[in-house]
Structure formats: structure tokens, C-alpha cells
Symmetry: D2
Subunit: 370 residues, 4 copies
């Protein structure tokens, strides 16, 4: 048990506050012999980095990552993991802590200020301290390493809803995702969101979002009944991202509206001589175990709690007050949650792949090609 | 790490297959000195028990629970926990395993047959074996003990949707829940669901459902950032119930549609001299920690996969076949998921209460009355 | 975390009190496809069973074990594991609880009575309750299953010291171990111990012992730096056996007396084309990882605390008293610790074998034959 | 589960290699509100620091520690913990990696070279990489924080044996320990050890040692049956220190020689109105739970494996070779193990104190003063 770690065999421990000297993580259980480069981790971080468009916080953090342990230089270039823990460090650079002095004692509605105070009796109020979205940079770095554990697997995320505006799935194009500041897979929705979010931003408001994640190439058999389910762990990992209020697998809440006939993923023998599903309502998971079909998850992010409209609150002395949350914030924190969601899925899949190896042991051969 | 245990300080390990000799669980970490009776556990089990209405499976299981360890008889009656593990055993009585002989090698669509086979290469096919909803009886028994860890807390669940038909929340009445076979809090929806589900049942079909859980009296401060969040653990626990495909906290997916102004739970000083929330969009959890407001969660259950309409599938020899799933099943397995969801919430809350005691240590006094 | 479980991927949870209805365990993480028979588990239990000679407690327990889950009958006979948790149950038969009524409130010196009371404020005083050596029967049952995870490995234990009398290692003969009631590998020591222990027994006294365990055929590479070391886990597992006060690996405490030259296990290429050790001072473990040489551990068991000589103590009301511990006890509880030690080593090795599979992942090939 | 973490509620994760850029650790679960200074951690590190006498390695590392997270400056000076993870970083300064180039492919007898290679197929050979005693600096830093969790408790260690020379316990004086380079509590043994170890050092040899740890003021009730025992966790923690081959609690291996009468710790009512022990053969632990008497543990450290006498070995290509281990080493690595042992005991006790709070819950009042 621990509060700042997740995963079992691929295990990530994070540390650091938004306005402290540094944030970082320790990736434990990474198998030996994996090759990667510092640049690959940096690229993953750059996708999440703040200040890259007017729709994300204007805090300027280079997010330059440093590897402190667990790798050697490979004779052919890049790094190679040794099986020992990989520590990753990101120094904080652009702390404007004084933005937060006014609100040191006030409980910002929707933030964790109140609950941290009632639990711990003390907290780093600068920029949310530990509860800041800044910590998610370390998850993204860990996710970049996790991806190396899963060659042949792809994990991709996209924003499918901002506020009241949902994409049109018939126009879904993964290639479109990197071409706009929203991770939007539907090119026609991009200008609509641009206008909508500009309005939100200009009036100091914020709005929620829904992210969809799709993992392809996931080997069947990952996950274990009954309390080590792949979907149970994904639910925990995604719900644990800042501001997330809901998680779905496959049909998700819509499954409640369907009949058994509609929801059944029928099977036939596929081209490669193994059973294939004719549909994927299950989102690639049955009984907590991956089926080999794409693993599909969605999660909902609430609107950024920091807004410029005054809200009623109290402070730690019991004084009632009205609060405007200054500082540099995202009008839709859901946008930057896309690479974070991807990273969490990478980490969960890497952990389950390693667990699977330890679980099945001398498993009698499966009759179909894997 | 383990696959058949959940919780950290209040830890439950379950075992048993649907058609094996017995199912049961070991509840470890139950504090000493808790008083309860065997009858209380039995009553909890009876709420989940199959065969109590025509809308649940007709399997007749008395679900008589036996306590094997961890308690002493209290001089004033009933039992008292000693702090050692409490083992609970329920013998299986009404196994009609031969119902399953026809389908021993076929993969029932929507079931875990395929994934268990691909993972383990061997499985107990009778009644779903380990993946059967029968196992959830042990969770309910554990939940009845967990409830004793949390005096002053109530956890209640209700069915809010069956298929296309949702309740009218303006008529919500908790007192109505035990008066109908659906755990329905809206008396006017009961006859509608009755007709609807009779139709489903008669044509051998099935349908999904949504359950809402509300925990009141939860002390503030439960849960820990960042990977020991109360909502992260609830998400895992609820997603891990058989057939669940989605989990929400508070506003859930609807939060994605809201603005920051709409979603903010403003605060004022309450009657008891402590901060109070004027709304509860957060569902009682901020930053992964309980606020003291009611903890509200919802989860979606897919339609029962066992239906009488033939579905296309394959068997373990690669033969394509059409399958009708006989056996005794629930037309809406979501109904019996209500007490299971309550039990999982009890267990998660009990675990977090005990963890909280170990986390905060010599916590400086909170300035407001607790 | 949990108090009544051990192991990570091969994980055992035990329950039950000495004089409650039953004791048992749940073995989680057992790989699928392992074949064994109920008789094999029973045989392992019979080696530990009380009442088999005048040197162990005269409590008569058949220790008949029942398997409740996790196996199927194999078409060719015996059982086969399915990968789901294996629950094992042993009913208590010969409880003579009234033996303990006199001492219900008194703290027996050397026993856990005082510490259980100060921790829990309540305890099952009958026969030591949870702290009784009776619980070790469940470990032995679990160990018999663990052995199946490790084909080609042997784990053997022997008693090497009773009180002041040590065996002569030059006469060590494993074949002798089953031929005497002491698990003694030295035939000439058997009559000496017989006389010595008869004297101890007749005067109602007790004496300590040292057990040595040797595991052969352990694959190299098991264990992980730095806090998942094989020797660290063995130390915990053996120290956790009732009455154990010391654990050694290889040279153990004697290593403190040696120089680096004496203690070095030099290496040369062996017959099978792989490096071989010319000595085994390390006891088969270097840096927490198995070397392929025999894993050698020793543990010291204190004298049985229950003796007939009156000892000064107090009771839970603070009254000073002199106490004789009646009941049926072992004059040297170290004897029955032999099969318990073997079982713990089996469990630790099985756990580490499964962990190893999950740890090394795509490990580049080792240049020597394995 | 993880390989580079220990503890449950007070949980330490370490990272770093001997000759990499830095070593460090993350201390998770530290309760909020603990006050300490950077200087206190530095002082603890300085006690373990190499190069402080001619009897320890001449590597010159300032071991300057930096705190990256989890604390705030306290208004009254020093730091205060916030309940979030405390990351500690120590940069490596004096790496002379080229010392190790000759032996890159050879397996140094007694070192982990062979086992790391067989497990991982790749390793950082410089200075032992991850298996270097250098990593223990991070444990010492963590221990300094753990000590703050346990006000009123003292943990002290002393060297009681070097090679064949044991101290005279009748002269034991804790005040003597900081006055000599051996942590020796017996002033008359100091010159004897000085001569003896100078001889060892000058001929490039090494020798083993035994360390004794005594924790006073430990509250009764810490530890939990049966697999969360305080002594089980101490055994694991101490056996996990580099080069340790044996661990004892209280009488340890000597208990095997005693009778029940000799070994019994009799009880009488003490001065403070609570039960007191008249002896402490148990070393402060009964049934895995602390008694309130001093917790006494000993551990044996093997001689440093790096010696100047050539030893036979092989390299990773299977070539037989004779090896001299150059580099800067300790003639008796057991000396520097004293503060490491203390740190591990601090960490185990802190963890168990926090666990205890979560375990006993609403424990009925103990009748005696605590």
C-alpha cells in the first residue's frame, strides 16, 4: 500500500509540488534491455506541456526531464534499461507563487484545498501544491517508458466532447489529432471548439470535456479475476487523474440501455485462424481480461475549478468570503488530460503484461495462434 | 498484489466457484471489539439472494453463512470481533451443473469463457465458475462486517434505470426501496418496470441497468492523494463488479457539459460551526478525499449475457456454432447488483477509515468541530 | 498490505484459531494446469501432525483437509489447478478448551497473551487462539501446493540442534530424516536426543532447537534487488514462524568471524558449460538473487513457553500470580517446525519464481546454458 | 509489490547507482506536521559517510542531501512535513568509474555481479551499480525522517564483534559509541580492534562483523499476527542490508540452547501500575507484537567481498580468470552498517506505529496506563 505509487510489477511512484523545487517519479519494475531515448520521453512531455496554445495555462515550463538512474548508454546509441529503478526528474522553473498569496487561507470551490486541510491540517497552497495538474507531467514521462514494454501496441487518445459540443464520430480521423490544439479527431469540429472555447476563455470561465482512449494490439489474456481486473485497474487509474468524474469501458453507461441481443459481441473464426469478435461493445475486456479486440475507455473531466467569476466560500478561520481564482489556468483542463490518459493506459497495460507473465506460468498451450 | 483480494487495511479475499462445493471469503483487518450477529450478515445476504422474485435467477440457494474464525461470543449476546481474520463460508446447494454440459466448449458471447480460456487454458465452465455472479454473495457478507467499522454512516443503493426507462428523481423515496423487487426508489416507476421486464423475461432477453449509491455521514478526510484516492478506489471496486461497464462520481459524465460556474460547490459556514457546501456536484469527494458531504456514485450494468436468442460464436476447437444460453439467469442482473454495490462501498469506506487513522498520525487539530 | 497473507504472486491467506470451528487458507496466484492430489497435501500435513510421537503434543487432530475451490478433477486422475484461488479447510476436532479456563485472564510468560491483549483488548485465550502453532498446518498445506510450482526443485529440512546437543554434520544422511521422530539426519544423535528429550518431557520442561533447510535445483535469478531480495523474504517467512528467534543464510552468523579470503565462493566453469561455484558460503544467494547453488537457511526456535514449572506472572486485572501452563504441549516445538519451515521455503520460492517471470520480461539471452 | 520499496504506511522507495548521476529516495506516508531540519538528515548521513576514517572506503562523497518535495518552511524555523511524499536527492560526486574497467565482464566472488547478469542480462558494473553499499545512504536519510514519527523512542546501534574479537558486554557504555571509528560500546576493545583491523587493511583483506540494535521506548502493541509481525519485518529489513547473512531477535540462536524455565520472561506489576517483564529474552517482541520492553536485534555482516588477494573466477564469456578487486573499499563493511541498521529499524518502527493506528480502530481501553 502506498498513496503515491501505482501499479504492481510496473510500478510508478511520483513526488513533487507545483511550486516546489522539482517534480519527478521513480519507475520500478521496468524490464531490462528496453531501448529508448531521452528525446522520446521529452516528446511525450511536450505533448502535455503547458503554454503551447492559448487554450492551456500560460505557465512556461520547459519540462526538461533528466534521468538519474536505471539506464546505461547503449553502444548503438540511446539508452537501455538495466532492470533497476528509473528515476526521472523535472525541475520547476516558472513558479509565480505570489499569485497565490491572496488565497492562502481560502478554500477555492472545486479544488482540494478544503479536503487537504481537513485531512492534513497543513498544505502547500501555492498552485495547488501536490494536487496540481503539474504532477501529471511525471505520469506522462512514466507512460513513455511503459510504452516500451509493449512493442506492437498503440495507445491513442482524443477529445470527443468539450462542454455541450461533441464530435461527429463518422468523421473520426486519428491523423487529425496532432493537427489542432484540442487532440480533436474530427476536423470540422475544430473551428467550432475554437470559437466556443475562446468565448469561455475570454469571460474567465471554464468547461468540461470527455476523452476517449483506444489501445490496439493488446494481447488477449491481460487482467485477472476478480480483483485484479484490467478494467478495474483502468477505472482506478483514469478516475485518479485530476478532475475526472466518470470512467467507461466499451459501451459504458450506454450498455444500461441495451438488450442482451444488442450488446452481445458475437464471434466467428477470423482470418488468422483464431476467434474474432464481430463487434466490440465490451471495449476489449470480458470478465476483467483483455479479449484481443481494441481496449476502449472514456473518461469525463469536470470544468477547471479556477474561474474569474467570484464564488462564495470560506477560509480556514471560518470567515465567509467571495473568491476569484487568479493564476494561470486552463479554460478546459480536459485538453491536457489526453496525453495523461494515454500515459495511464500505457502504465496499466505494461503492469498487466508483466503480471500476466507471472500469473499463468506453465500455461498449457492455447489451441489458436496468438 | 493479489488477484482475489481487495482493500489494504480492511482486506477481503474471496474464493469459490458457482458450482463448486462452497464459496467464501476471509475478512482481514477488521478492528477488534466490533459487535454484530450472524443474523445481520444473513439479512444482508438475503437481500442479494437469488430466487426471491421472478426477475432474478430461479436458482434456489439458501446462502446460509457460517463464521469459521475471528469472533468470540459476546457475554451480552451476538459476536464480537477479535482482530484476527474472519472467515465466512457459504456452501453451494443447488448446483445444476448439467445445464452447462452442452456449452462446455463454446464461448458464450459476453461472458468470460473466451478470456478465461485464453488466459488459463483451463476453466470451470459450470455456471461461469469463478466469473459467476454467485461470488458476489461473499462480497455482501464482507460488506455487512465493513458496515460495523463505520458507525454513524449509512450506505444505500437504488436502481435508477432499467434499459430505456429511468426513474423520476423528483419522486425519490428511500423508504420505497425495500417495497419492490427492483430496489426502486420511485413508486410510480415500479409498475412500469414490472411490465417492461416481464416482456424482456418472457422472450428470453435481458436488459441493462444503472445503480446509484449514496453514503451519508462519511467523515471528511478519507482518501489520500494521489494514487490512494477514495474515488479511484470506488471506481476500481465498482468497475470490478460483474458486468459493470461505467462508474461515475457526483455529476459524473454530465460534468463534461458544465461550466466552472455551474459545477462549483460554493461554501458557507454551516449550522454546526463548520464549513458547509451549498451544492454537491463533486459527489462528496475533492482531490480524492471525502468532503463530509454525501458520497454519491453510479454504475452501469450491461444486460445479462445469457439469453435464449441464438447468437453466433465459436468453440474451443475453432468450430463456428450458434449458441442459446440455457441455465437459470437474471433478465436484469443489475437488480441484484444493488446490494453488491452497497457492499463494495462499505468495504472501500471501511478500508479508507482505517487507512486514514494510519495516515494522518499526529495531525494538528483542525480548527472546526469534526 | 495485510496481516494474514504472505507472498505477492503466489499469495497465501490463512485464518482460524486453535479452538475455533476450523482453520484454513486461500492460495491465490497458483498457476493453472498444475496437477496434484488431495493425498499429497494430506501427506504433507501428516508429517506435521501432532500426536505422532511422545515428543509432540498429544492433541489428536486428524487434520483432514478439504479443497473448496480452484481445482477440477483431471480426466487422468487427481486434480488440476485452474488459476483461481484454492481454498483449503481443516476442521478442528479435538478441542479441549476447558484446559484453558484457569488461565483465561493470566499472561503466560513467553506467550503472546499479553501482547494480544494490549493490542486488541480482547483475545481468544483457548489454546493460544490465533497465535497457536495449530495455524501452521495451513502453511504446510499451502506449501504442498507451492511445491508443484517448482518441478525439479527439492526442499528438505532437518533438525540440527536440540538444546545443548548438536548433530555431527559428518554423519549427515537425508535418508535418515524420516526414520526418527526428530527429523534428525544423524542416526547416532537420535538415541542421544531421545534420552535428553525424555528427561525434559518428564519434568514438564521444554527446550529449543535449530532447523536447517536446503533447497536444491533452485533456478538462478530468483529474487530482486533491493527490497525484494530472496534472502530478505526467507528471513521474514522463517522469523514469522511461531517461536522463531533467529534466521541465517549460508554461513550466517559465522560469516562475521571469517575473512574475505575464507568467505569467497570462487568460481570456475562447470561441467555443463556454465559457471560453477567452488564453495557455497553464500548459501545460494548473492545480492538477494539465487545463484543456482543450493539455498541454505537455518532458524532457531525457542523452547516451548508452556511448561509445568510455576512462573511468576500477572493477569489482566493487574493481580500478580504464579502460573503453571497445563494443556497438551510439545517439549520441543522445534521438531514440528521442520515441515513448517520447508513449507515456508516452498511458498517463498514459488512466489519468487512467478515474480521472476514478470520481472525480467524480454531479458536478453544469457550466454550460458540455463 | 515492488522491488525497490519497503514499508506499507511509512513507505520508502530508493533509486540510484553507485556511479550514476545521483541516488535518492521517496518517503511516502510521512504524517503531516512533523518538524525537522535538513541538518538533522545531514548529520545522520555524516555518521554513515565514507572516508571518515582509515577503516572505511576512501571514496570522498559529501553526501549533501537536497529535499525536493513534501515539506514547507516552518514559521519558527526548520521544515514541517505536509503529508505528501518527501523526495531526497544526493548527487554522486567522486565517481572513479575507470577503476572498474578491468573487471567489467568478470564476476567478482561474493558480489552480485553474477546474479545480476543471470537475472537481467545487463548491469551497471561501475562500483557495483545498484548493489553498491552507496545506496544505503538513502536509507539513512529516510531513517532520519522515520525517527520523527516516533518521539520518545530511541534507536541505537553498536558493533559487538569484528572477526574473531567480540566486545565485553560488562563494559557496555553507549556514550562510548560516538568516540571511536567502530561504533564500539566497549572502550577497552577499541585499541584491540584498531590493531586487528589495521592488519586486515594492510594486507588487503577484510573481515565480518556483528551489529546490535536496541530500541527503547517502543510502545507495546506494534506488529500484527501472523504475517505482519514486527520481528518478521525487522528480519526482512535487516537481512536486506548489503552483505547481511543472519538476523536475531532477543536471545536469537542462543534461545535454541535454553530450557523453557531459563527463557521465560516472568512478569510482575511495575512501578507505573502496568505489567513489567523481569527479563527480556524475547527481545521486546512476543507473538510478533512489541511488549514495551526494549526491542533488541542483532545482525551479522560478512567480510567485504572486495579484497586484494587474487581469487579464481570466470567472466561473462566463460573464460576462467584470477581476479583482484581494486577500487576503494571498506576492510570491514560492518562498521558502516551500524547507522544503516539503525535507519532500517527506525523505518520499520515508524511503519508499524502507523499501521497500528489503522489496525486497532476502536480498541476497547486497555486496563493499565499506557
Amino acid at each position: 500500500m502506498s498513496f503515491n505509487s501505482f501499479g504492481h510489477l510496473f510500478r510508478v511512484t511520483t513526488f513533487g509540488e507545483s511550486h516546489g523545487p522539482a517534480i519527478g517519479c521513480v519507475v520500478d519494475g521496468c524490464p531490462p534491455g528496453l531501448r529508448f531515448t531521452l528525446e522520446e520521453i521529452q516528446e511525450a512531455l511536450d505533448r502535455r506541456r503547458p503554454g503551447t496554445s492559448r487554450f492551456t495555462t500560460q505557465r512556461r515550463e520547459p519540462d526538461a526531464v533528466r534521468i538519474l538512474s536505471g539506464t546505461l548508454e547503449h553502444p548503438e546509441g540511446g539508452l537501455v534499461s538495466t532492470g533497476t529503478p528509473i528515476a526521472l526528474l523535472i525541475e520547476n522553473v516558472d513558479q509565480r507563487s505570489k499569485d497565490y498569496n491572496d488565497i492562502a487561507g481560502s478554500y477555492r470551490p472545486g479544488h482540494a484545498d478544503f479536503t487537504y486541510d481537513i485531512k492534513y491540517g497543513i498544505r502547500d497552497h501555492r498552485g495547488g501544491g501536490r494536487s496540481s495538474a503539474r504532477e501529471t507531467a511525471t505520469r506522462v514521462a512514466a507512460g513513455a517508458i511503459a510504452a516500451k514494454v509493449l512493442p506492437g501496441v498503440s495507445v491513442r487518445g482524443a477529445l470527443v466532447r468539450i462542454g455541450e459540443i461533441e464530435i461527429d464520430r463518422s468523421r473520426w480521423d486519428w491523423n487529425e489529432v496532432p493537427n489542432n490544439p484540442f487532440f480533436c479527431p474530427d476536423p470540422e469540429t475544430v473551428p467550432v471548439w475554437t470559437d466556443y472555447l475562446d468565448g469561455i476563455r475570454k469571460r474567465g470561465s471554464s468547461v468540461g470535456a470527455v476523452i476517449e482512449l483506444v489501445a490496439e494490439g493488446v494481447p488477449p489474456g491481460l487482467g485477472a479475476p476478480l480483483y485484479g481486473k484490467l478494467d478495474g485497474d483502468l477505472a482506478s487509474a483514469l478516475m485518479g487523474i485530476n478532475a475526472v468524474k466518470g470512467v467507461e469501458i466499451g459501451e459504458g453507461f450506454n450498455a444500461a440501455r441495451l438488450t442482451g441481443e444488442e450488446n452481445a459481441d458475437e464471434m466467428r473464426m477470423g482470418n488468422e485462424g483464431r476467434p474474432a469478435f464481430l463487434a466490440n461493445h465490451a471495449g476489449g475486456i470480458l470478465g476483467g481480461i483483455s479479449t484481443g479486440a481494441p481496449v476502449v475507455a472514456r473518461f469525463a473531466v469536470k470544468p477547471t475549478s479556477s474561474i474569474l467569476t467570484p464564488r462564495q466560500t470560506v477560509d480556514k478561520f471560518g470567515t465567509e468570503t467571495d473568491l476569484i481564482t487568479k493564476g494561470r489556468h486552463d479554460p478546459c483542463v480536459g485538453i491536457r488530460a489526453v496525453p495523461v490518459g494515454e500515459a495511464m493506459m500505457w502504465c496499466v497495460l505494461a503492469d498487466h503484461l508483466l503480471r500476466h507473465r507471472g500469473q499463468v506460468g506453465e500455461n498449457p498451450h492455447w489451441p489458436f495462434p496468438r
